[in-house]
C-alpha cells in the first residue's frame, strides 16, 4: 500500500515532465512542422477545400488550442492516419512494436549481462593486465561507428566475401504452405527463422553497446570498491570473490538498474532505425526511417511522443525499484 502511494506521488511529480515532453514534440512537429494540407488533398485543391482541411487540422486556431488538440490525440492514443500508406498509426505501432522488441531483446540482455560480467572482471583485476585488456577493447568498441559495424558484420556473416551463413536481409514470414501446419511445426518454423534473421543484428548491437556498458559498469563497481566496508570485509577475511558478488555488486545495483530500466523504452518502442533499415526488419525503426525520409509526420509524431512518455514512466519505475532493492531509501522523500 505504501509502495502504491509512493508510486502515485512519483506519478504526480512527473506531470511537469510529461507536459514538457509533449510540448516539445508539439512545438517542433505540429506547430512549426510541415503543412499537411497538400498531402491530404493533392496538388489541385480548391480554396474552399484547403480552408476546410485547415479547419479540420486546426491550422487556424491559436497555439494553446492546438496544443490541447495534440494532448487529446496523445491521451486517446489516436494519432491519425499515416500519410504514405493511409493506415492508422496506432495499427502500425501495434504491428511493429512486437517485431522491434523481438529483435532488440536478445541484444539488450546479452550486452547488459556480458557488460556486468566483464566489468566485474576488470574491477577485480583493477590496474592489472585483464583490466587493461578489457578496457582497451571497450574503448575500441566505443570508437567504431554503428554504421560501420553493421556494414562489416553484414559483409562478414551474410555475403560470399565472408562466411555467408545468414541471409542478408529479411524477417520471419511463414510461407502459405504453412497455413494449415500444426502448432509445433509453425513454432519450430518461427523459432528457426527468428534466430536466422536476428543473429547478425544481435551480434552487431552487442558489439556496439558492450564497450559503453562495460565502462559504465566498471566505473560504478570501482567506486564501490573504494568504500570502507570493502576494507572491513577484507579485514574480516572474506574472500575477494564473495565481496565482489555479494557486497559490491549488490551495492552497485542502483546505478546499474537505473541504466537498464531507462534504456528499456528505447528497446521497446523506439526500435533501432539503422539496424532495422539495414537488415530489412519490419519494426518500428524501419517504419520510422521511412516516415522520416518521406516526411510522414503522424508516424514520427506518434513514435516520438510514445517513447518520451514511456521514458518518463521508466523514470518512475526506477524510483520504485530503488525502494525495493535498497531498504535505506525512505518513502517520505
Amino acid at each position: 500500500m505504501e509502495t502504491l502511494q509512493y508510486a502515485i506521488r512519483k506519478l504526480l511529480y512527473s506531470i511537469p515532465l510529461l507536459f514538457g515532453v509533449t510540448l516539445i514534440a508539439f512545438t517542433l512537429m505540429v506547430y512549426f512542422g510541415p503543412d499537411l494540407t497538400h498531402n491530404i488533398l493533392g496538388k489541385n485543391a480548391s480554396v474552399e477545400q484547403i480552408e476546410e482541411v485547415h479547419r479540420e487540422l486546426g491550422y487556424d486556431k491559436p497555439f494553446l488550442q492546438r496544443y490541447g488538440m495534440f494532448l487529446k490525440e496523445v491521451f486517446t492514443f489516436d494519432f491519425g492516419n499515416s500519410i504514405s500508406s493511409g493506415e492508422e498509426v496506432t495499427d502500425i505501432l501495434k504491428r511493429t512494436v512486437p517485431v522491434s522488441f523481438a529483435v532488440a531483446l536478445p541484444a539488450f540482455i546479452i550486452s547488459n549481462l556480458l557488460g556486468i560480467g566483464l566489468a566485474l572482471m576488470a574491477a577485480y583485476h583493477r590496474g592489472r593486465f585483464w583490466d587493461k585488456f578489457v578496457m582497451v577493447f571497450a574503448v575500441v568498441g566505443m570508437s567504431v561507428s554503428y554504421l560501420m559495424i553493421v556494414i562489416a558484420f553484414q559483409i562478414f556473416f551474410s555475403t560470399s566475401y565472408g562466411l555467408n551463413w545468414f541471409p542478408v536481409q529479411g524477417w520471419v514470414d511463414p510461407p502459405p504452405e504453412y497455413a494449415d501446419a500444426g502448432f509445433f511445426e509453425i513454432a519450430y518454423y518461427y523459432w528457426y527463422y527468428y534466430w536466422l534473421y536476428v543473429t547478425v543484428p544481435t551480434l552487431a548491437s552487442v558489439f556496439v553497446a558492450l564497450g559503453y556498458n562495460t565502462r559504465f559498469f566498471r566505473a560504478v563497481i570501482v567506486e564501490e570498491l573504494n568504500r570502507d566496508y570493502v576494507r572491513t570485509a577484507k579485514a574480516y577475511g572474506i574472500g575477494n570473490a564473495t565481496i565482489m558478488v555479494k557486497h559490491v555488486l549488490k551495492n552497485a545495483l542502483i546505478p546499474i538498474v537505473t541504466r537498464i530500466i531507462i534504456s528499456l523504452p528505447f528497446v521497446i518502442i523506439a526500435g533501432n532505425l539503422v539496424l532495422e533499415k539495414f537488415f530489412g526488419i519490419p519494426g518500428v525503426g524501419l517504419v520510422t526511417y521511412d516516415a522520416i525520409t518521406n516526411g510522414d509526420l503522424p508516424v514520427v509524431k506518434a513514435v516520438v511522443t510514445c517513447t518520451a512518455i514511456l521514458y518518463v514512466f521508466a523514470l518512475i519505475l526506477t524510483d520504485i525499484v530503488y525502494k525495493l532493492i535498497d531498504p535505506r531509501i525512505s518513502y517520505s522523500k
Binding site: G20, I24, A25, L28, M29, S145, L147, T288, A308
Partner: protein, 297 residues
Amino acid sequence: MTQPSTSSPPPENAPGESLWSKSYRKFMRDRFGVAALVIVGIYAIVALGVWLGLWAGNWSELGEEGFLGMTREHWFGTNINGQDIFARAIAGTKTAFEVGLIVAVTSTIIGGALGAIAGYYNGTIIDEIIMWLYGCIDAIPFYLFVAAIAFALEGTPYAMHVAMIATFWSSTCRIVRGEVIKIRNLEYIQAAHAIGVKPMTIIYRHITPNTFHILLVQGTIAFVGAIKSEVILTFLGLGVVDGVSWGTMLSESINDVLRGHFGNFLAASGFLFFLVIAFNMFADALQDATDPKKISN
C-alpha cells in the same frame, strides 16, 4: 608538441604551482594521452589544410572511370562516379571537424552556463526550470529529436547542428550543476557573498573557472559524439546535404560493398575510427590529468 625535459623533474608539489600546470605535467607523463593528442593534431592540420584549400580540393572532380581498384594514383580507388576516394576522405576530415567543433563548443558553453546557474540557485525555481528542461530533452530519443527538428527547420542545412547542440548540452549541464552545488558551499563563495559581490559576478568570476576541467572533458566527449552522430544522421538522410563527409561515404559504400568494392568503406571507416579512438583516449587522459581529486594526492 614538446616533451618536458625528463632529466630534472620539477619537485612534485612546488609551492604556488597552479592546478593547471600540475595537470599539464600529469598529462605529459601519460604516453597514450600524448600519442592520442598528436594524432588529433595531425587530423586538425589536415582539416585546416582542406579549409585553406591546400589539398583535396579535387574531391568532387569526376574521373573517367568508376570503381577503380587501389592504384598509386588513387590510394583507395575511385567511387561510382570516378571520384578519388582518398581525396574525399581527406575533405571529409574538414566536415568532421566543422561539425565537431561547432557542436562541442556551443553545447559546452550552453551546458556550462546553465549548469552553473542551476547549481548556484540550487533549490529555487530557476534550478527547477533548468532541471525540467534537460529532463524533457533526455526523454526524447536522440535520432527522433533530430528528425523532429529537421521537420521544424525544413530546408536549412543546420538542422543537424541545432539538434545536436540542443541535446548535447544536457549532460554537461547535469555534471556542472552537481559540481557547482559543492563549490557554492565553500567559504570563499560565502566570503564573496558577505562583501556584496553580485550573484552573476560570483558565478562567472569565481565559480565557472573551477568547472573548466569538466567543460574541457565534456567538450571532447561532445566532439566525439557529434562526429559519430553525423555518420548515422547522414545515413538517415538528416545530416550533411551538400559537401562530402565520412557519413556520406559510408552511406554510399553500402551499395558498393555488396558489389565487392571496399574502397569507400575502408577509407571512411578507417579515417573515422582513428580520429574517434584518438579523441576517446585523449578525453580519458584529460579526465585523469585534470581531476583535482586525483592531482592533489
